[in-house]
């Protein structure tokens, strides 16, 4: 016996999927995508086909569910011009109408479909075929045994054709096909399941590879999002850490603050600015952003708390005018209501802005809002993945976190996330006589010789200022 060749694979081009599939779909084999209605299986199959065609692998799509117009329309909304590919002969979209009034007058088989598929595939020299909603076609065969036989002959034909096939089928009890799924899963070399679940009022689509004959694969359930550019899957447990080392110091935006920090923050560092409400976290973050933008270092400000107008307006009182920075394009503000989207969607929106804008620095105001995105787990995943992405790109991150409510420090210090935070600046208040005084403490600043004292911190129309480093404050916060 010869040693088996490594399984040839066809990259799907769907972001994140190929790494889960360890290279792509099994080439010249059948992949089955199962899922309930609305789980995204059609978009997934369509995107594989589109990406394939774009990379010069012509494909045939036959859909028993959506009309050709609906398919082209949906695809177009994601920027995929199927009609253009059809015109170039890289794609054929077939949308047969199933005649439900047809009279059954004896035995029949799906040879018609096979002839059409084979004819179309030959016509455009296709290497990929997608059969969307094969279960709809199977409704013509109202007997499980016949359905099984027909699926078997489809499978035989696909194997002989050498085409890489993707079949989608609805799962769930309402299809009446449950018994045949077991069979279909048997005949497919790769089975992907798509689901959509509502978790703490936020709906998330997930994808899982149920089997992949002859290949390793990521076996977790991966959340995915249908974005305006298609499907994006970010493997959360992609254990390979490709973090860049911390870079040269970068100014926190104010000289006294830089001195306390031992020369500023580090480029590519993850910095946490924490404190109760009103302690000056946003002001501190904007001080940094303004200084960075003035050096023409692009900065992306993700605001979960305030609108763009509210933020720029509020920053005028401590003398930080963000408007010219927005105008010259060095600053971008991305606003989002935490509850408006699922964690995956938020993450992907930020990732896409990062890809497009290529910022050197990122401010997230505030990560405490992440919890409002969904469950505790969702917030944690969101943060760790954002952290990882920025670390890989060497983007300096300022995470603003409101303490004394919302997300507690444990969320950040637990399960490995604290090791990813390079610097922590704690803001607070202390009573001084009959006044409240702002305080600032650098709890940690990796790689920098930072002050470990509480500093008086003030905000005026000229921005932030630190008073006499080392000035002692109330006994409760005294640092020896």
């Amino acid at each position: 016996m010869e040693r088996p060749e490594p399984l040839p694979k066809l990259a799907t081009g769907v972001e994140g999927l190929d790494s889960i599939l360890e290279g792509g779909l099994p080439q010249a084999r059948t992949t089955l995508v199962v899922g309930e209605a609305g789980s995204g299986k059609t978009v997934l199959a369509l995107e594989m086909l589109y990406r394939g065609a774009m990379s010069g692998q012509p494909g045939v799509l036959i859909s028993f569910e959506e009309t050709g117009e609906a398919i082209r329309g949906n695809a177009f909304s994601m920027g995929w011009d199927l009609a253009a590919l059809e015109a170039k002969g890289l794609l054929a979209v077939i949308r047969p109408k199933i005649d439900y009034n047809a009279i059954f007058a004896g035995e029949f088989s799906i040879k018609g479909l096979l002839a059409i598929l084979s004819g179309q595939a030959k016509k455009i020299s296709a290497s990929v075929v997608v059969i969307d909603a094969v279960d709809v076609l199977m409704c013509l065969f109202n007997d499980p045994l016949r359905q099984r036989n027909e699926l078997y002959s489809l499978h035989e034909w696909l194997m002989q054709s050498g085409l890489t096939a993707v079949l989608t089928a609805k799962s769930g009890q309402d299809t009446g096909l449950a018994r045949d799924f077991t069979f279909m899963e048997f005949m497919a070399d790769c089975v992907i399941q798509a689901t959509q679940r509502v978790d703490t009022q936020v709906s998330t689509r997930r994808l899982r590879v149920l089997k992949y004959r002859g290949s390793a694969y990521g076996s977790n359930e991966y959340p995915f999002v249908i974005t305006p550019r298609g499907i994006v899957i970010v493997p959360v447990s992609d254990a390979e850490l490709a973090h860049r080392p911390l870079g040269a110091p970068v100014s926190a935006g104010q000289s006294e603050l830089d001195a306390v920090l031992g020369g500023g923050y580090c480029r590519g560092a993850s910095v946490l600015i924490a404190g109760p409400t009103g302690s000056g976290k946003t002001t501190l973050a904007c001080t940094f952003a303004q200084a960075a933008c003035r050096r023409q270092e692009r900065t992306l400000y993700v605001s979960f708390e305030e609108s763009r107008e509210a933020l720029t307006g509020a920053m005028l009182s401590p003398g930080i005018d963000l408007r010219p920075l927005l105008e010259d394009g060095s600053l971008e503000i991305l606003t989002a209501m935490p509850e408006a989207l699922g964690a995956e969607h938020h993450l992907l929106r930020i990732f896409q802005r990062i890809d497009d804008f290529e910022p050197e620095h990122l401010v997230v105001d505030a990560i405490s809002a992440a919890r409002r995105i969904g469950s505790e787990q969702a917030a944690f995943d969101f943060l760790i993945r954002l952290l990882n992405r920025c670390k890989e790109r060497g983007i300096t991150c300022i995470y603003v976190n409101q303490t004394g409510g919302a997300v507690s420090m444990e969320v950040l210090s637990g399960i490995g996330i604290s090791s990813l935070i390079d610097a922590i600046v704690m803001l607070g208040f202390v009573r001084s006589g009959c006044e409240m005084e702002r305080t600032l403490l650098v709890l940690k600043s990796r790689g920098r010789n930072h002050s470990n004292k509480f500093h008086k911190f003030s905000i005026s129309s000229k921005g932030v200022a630190l008073k006499t480093p080392g000035a002692h404050l109330s006994s409760e916060g005294k640092d020896k």
Binding site: I103, E107, I110, G112, S118
Partner: protein, 99 residues
């Protein structure tokens, strides 16, 4: 199924397409069954076109033929599709207006 226009059989011409898949047993039976049905009342009234989907997939596509054998009765309207080897003579005769 009640179909209008079949009350005066002598005047009606029946136009239809039989889709077959090569020499498949059920396709062969369908050919035999349709020919038998036509000859019962004289083939002059019937205009039968046979399309082998493996030779001409485009016509199959035009008529949304996903399964074979399939008989599409075009004339007289409305269009009726019969799926199968046409061994169900009763249904075939009804569709052809023979009963």
């Amino acid at each position: 199924m009640n179909r209008p226009g079949l009350t005066a059989p002598g005047a009606v011409r029946c136009r239809m397409i039989l889709f077959v898949a090569g020499d498949e047993p059920n396709s062969r039976r369908a050919r035999e069954n349709i020919r038998a049905a036509c000859s019962e009342k004289g083939s002059k009234r019937y205009d039968l076109q046979v399309v082998d989907v493996f030779d001409d997939f485009q016509t199959a596509l035009d008529y949304d033929i996903m399964v074979t054998p399939a008989l599409v009765v075009l004339d007289p309207p409305p269009r009726v599709t019969l799926l199968g080897d046409l061994s169900d003579t009763e249904k075939l005769h009804a569709a052809l207006g023979l009963i």
